[in-house]
Structures are given as C-alpha cells and as structure tokens.
C-alpha cells in the first residue's frame, strides 16, 4: 500500500507539501477575512429597516448556504471568463487561486452573516438603550459598543469557520489550484503511491487545524479575563 513511503519523505517533497499547506492556509485566511467583511454587510442588510435590503440579505444567505461550495467554485470559475469574453471580446487568463479565494469568501460571507447577526442579537438590549439615552447615533452605537461585544461572542464560531475553510480550501483543487491536497495528488502520481502523500497531507491539515483551535482557546481565555 505505502510502496513509496520512504521515497515520498524526501526534504523536497515535504517542502513541496508544506508550500501547498501554506497556500491552503492563506486561501482560508483571506476567505475568512473577506467573508467577515461580507458578513458585516450581510448582517447589516438583514437588519435594515428597508425591505429590499432585508430581501437581498436573505436571498444571499439562503442561496449560498443551500448550494454546495464545490458547485459555487466551479460556477464562478466558468462564469467569470465567459462573462469577460462576452463583455470585452478578449480571452481572460484567470488566476485559479484568486477565483477560488473569491468563491470561498462569498461562501464564507453567508455563514458569517448569520454568525454576526446572532452575535449582535446576543448583545444586551440595555446597551442600545444606554447609548440611545446618551444621544449616540445608531452607527456610533454599533461601532463603539455593540460590535466589539458581538465579536467577543462570535469568536468561538469564527474559529470553527476558519477550521472549516482550511479544510474546504481543498475544493479549489478541482479548478486546478495546487494547494495541499492537489500537491499530495501530484506527488502521488509521481511515485504511483497516493496513500503516503495523502497521509502526510492529513498530518499537515491536522497541524493547521489544531493550531487554529489552540489559538482560538487562547484568545477566548484572554478575553474572558475582562468578564
């Protein structure tokens, strides 16, 4: 089964997989950050007093949450170039990593929308009232008082989302991006043994997810100090 185990464990191959892991981590981190920004916009839309924004927010969340991420990545990968060609007549050479990160950001944004919304709802109503009586505007209240408290509430689920994104970054291998999983496949094809590089990849994934998990617990402990 592990016919090429010792061959796979050369410094070059390990370095190659480590690079793949770094790409996975980077794609996940970018998607998390952009997703959180989309989440702030999405949750604002869902809480808007205007019906149209609420509808946009709801449609965004339901459509993205209700379809597979793999499909979203594939769709974006095919839609963007054809749209570009239709508009400009030129052929677009797209960067698969960028497309992958964008697709994952849009996907993560839908989950972040719900996360942030629940975080905002989790802040005591009395905080809004106190700000109201002090004359602060809705946005000042949101920015200075509610969001900082909401973020504290949502740190554990945001950490979970980050871990999910690290693992889901493997999906962008289907559009040709060479991240950790694809890297393992490349090495596997080279030595006619996929098992060994897959196992190494699994270890890399675990190192990343466990580190993030640990980091999350550390942040939680730090923040709990002011409770």
């Amino acid at each position: 089964m592990f016919t090429a185990f010792d061959k796979v464990f050369t410094p070059e191959n390990i370095l190659y997989l480590a690079k793949g892991a770094l790409i996975s981590l980077l794609i996940a981190a970018v998607s998390l950050v952009l997703g959180l920004i989309l989440g702030i916009l999405g949750s604002t839309a869902k809480r808007s007093k205007y019906r149209i924004f609420r509808i946009i927010g709801n449609v965004y969340v339901e459509v993205i949450r209700g379809t597979p991420m793999l499909l979203q990545i594939l769709l974006l990968f095919s839609v963007v170039p054809s749209l570009y060609t239709a508009l400009t007549g030129d052929i677009l050479r797209i960067n698969t990593y960028v497309i992958g990160a964008i697709a994952m950001s849009i996907n993560s944004g839908a989950y972040s929308t719900e996360l942030i919304r629940s975080g905002i709802n989790g802040v005591d109503k009395g905080q809004w009232e106190a700000c109201e009586t002090l004359g602060l505007s809705h946005w000042q209240t949101m920015k200075m008082v509610v969001l900082p408290q909401a973020f504290k509430i949502i740190i554990p689920p945001v950490i979970s989302e980050f871990i999910t994104l690290i693992k889901d970054s493997s999906l962008i291998s289907c559009i040709g991006a060479v991240e950790l999983l694809k890297g393992a496949q490349v090495i596997g094809a080279k030595y006619f043994d996929v098992m060994s590089p897959y196992c190494v990849a699994a270890i890399f994934y675990l190192i990343m997810t466990l580190s993030v998990s640990y980091l999350g617990r550390y942040i939680e402990r730090k923040l709990a100090a002011s409770d």
Partner: protein, 242 residues
C-alpha cells in the same frame, strides 16, 4: 418643564400606561411609586422616548418630543439623563471610557476636555480611583454611581432614574441614594421610579402613586406618607413600610 398629556401605552394586550397626564416643574423631585407592573417604569421611559406612547404627547420645555423628527427630538432628549436599574455600563470600556464616549462622540468635545470633566464627576461620586478599571471589577453600587456620573457628563437638565437601587445588595443602596440626594440638593430636576420609601419621603417634593397604569394618588411627599387619601395607597404603604 416636563409635561405628559393623556399618554397611553400597551404591550400586546396589557395596558401598561392608561391615560396618564402629569407635569413636572424645574427643580422638582418627583418619585413614582406603586406595585410591580403598575406602569411607573413605562411612564418614565415615555418621558425620554425609550418607549413611544400609542396616544398622547410628551412635552419637554413646551416642545413636543418627536423622535421621528430626528435632530430636534434628539436635542430635547439630550437634556435628559437616564439611569437604569441594571446600570448598562459598557463592559468593553474602562470606567473613564464609559464616561467620555458620549461627550466625545455626541458633544464633539476633545478627549482631554471630556476626560477632565469625567474625572470631576468620578470624584464627586467617589470613584476617581476606579477610572481605569473595567466595569466587571466594580460592585453593584459602584457601577450605579459610575452610571450616574456617565449621565451627568452629558450635562443634563433633567435626571430620570428607573429603580436605580433595585438590583443592588442592601448594603450598596445607601451609597447610590446619597449621590442622588446630593444631586437633589443641587437643584437638579429629578424623576425617580423607586421602591425606596425612605428616600421618597425625605427627598421627593411630590409622590405619584400608580396602579394598573393609572395615577391613583398624587400628593406632596409628607402628606402622602403620613395621610394617604386613597385606600389603595394606604394598603400599599402598609405592605412596604415596615
């Protein structure tokens, strides 16, 4: 200074405030008392627009409080400080930041000016040494004194208190009442929803007794406590004065 005209407020099927009218003059200290659910807190919340009455009007300085009218309504509201039963300090900020947030953001004061004023008020409530602490490090009584100082930083002309001592341990009550008493002596217009009958009797100019959303009795404090006119007020006082 404050005038309520026939205000009514319902929560679902419950009539929380039922056709209440009252007038409060500048410098007057009025206590709203009554059993739980009598609508006294709702009346207080209507005064500064935290609750909007379904019918009836609220006037501050003879101007109608209309918070849909944005700026003017907001300016009227800014003349009033509000102290909550559960303090509602901002847990993500230090005591000093709690006090300076609104002066900086709303009154556009400079940070140093806001801090100077905040320190003056903290000194007055005896908590200057706590200025860099977070609220979670304070006792209930200290939190409420910070909350009062926070309201005072906005330079209000009217202070509204919603059961300011109800969430406190008994031994903390006095320190908050003392701060309120000092404010009263300085001539601040105050409306206080309270269960502290001793405070109402000694500090209030006037006591308003509510039940089921209606004003049952209204009198100066001494007469109200020594010879209540209505049977309901007599029964209520018998239960709470012991």
């Amino acid at each position: 200074m404050i005038k309520l005209e026939h205000i009514t407020k319902n929560f679902k099927n419950l009539k929380a405030v039922d056709d209440v009218s009252l007038e409060i003059k500048k410098g007057e200290i009025v206590c709203l008392i009554g059993p739980s659910g009598s609508g006294k807190s709702t009346v207080l919340r209507c005064i500064n627009g935290l609750e909007v009455p379904e019918s009836g009007d609220v006037y501050i300085y003879d101007q109608k409080l209309d918070l849909n009218g944005e700026d003017k309504g907001r300016q009227l509201r800014n003349k009033m400080g509000f102290v909550f039963q559960h303090f509602n300090l901002f847990p993500n900020m230090t005591v000093l930041e709690n006090l300076t947030l609104a002066p900086i953001q709303v009154m556009k004061k400079s940070k140093s000016e806001a801090e100077e004023i905040a320190c003056q008020y903290l000194k007055r409530v005896g908590l200057l040494d706590k200025k860099d602490e977070y609220p979670n490090k304070l006792s209930g009584g200290q939190k409420q004194r910070v909350a009062i100082a926070r309201s005072l930083c906005m330079n209000p002309e009217i202070m509204l208190f919603d059961e300011p001592t109800s969430a406190l341990d008994p031994e903390m009550v006095i320190e908050v009442l003392e701060v309120m008493q000092e404010l009263a002596q300085e001539g601040m217009t105050m409306v206080v929803v309270t269960h502290e009958m001793g405070f109402a009797r000694t500090v209030a100019d006037r006591v308003i007794f509510l039940e089921d959303g209606k004003i049952i009795e209204e009198n100066n404090a001494e007469d109200f406590f020594s010879q209540p006119k209505t049977q309901r007020a007599q029964d209520f006082l018998k239960k709470v004065m012991h």
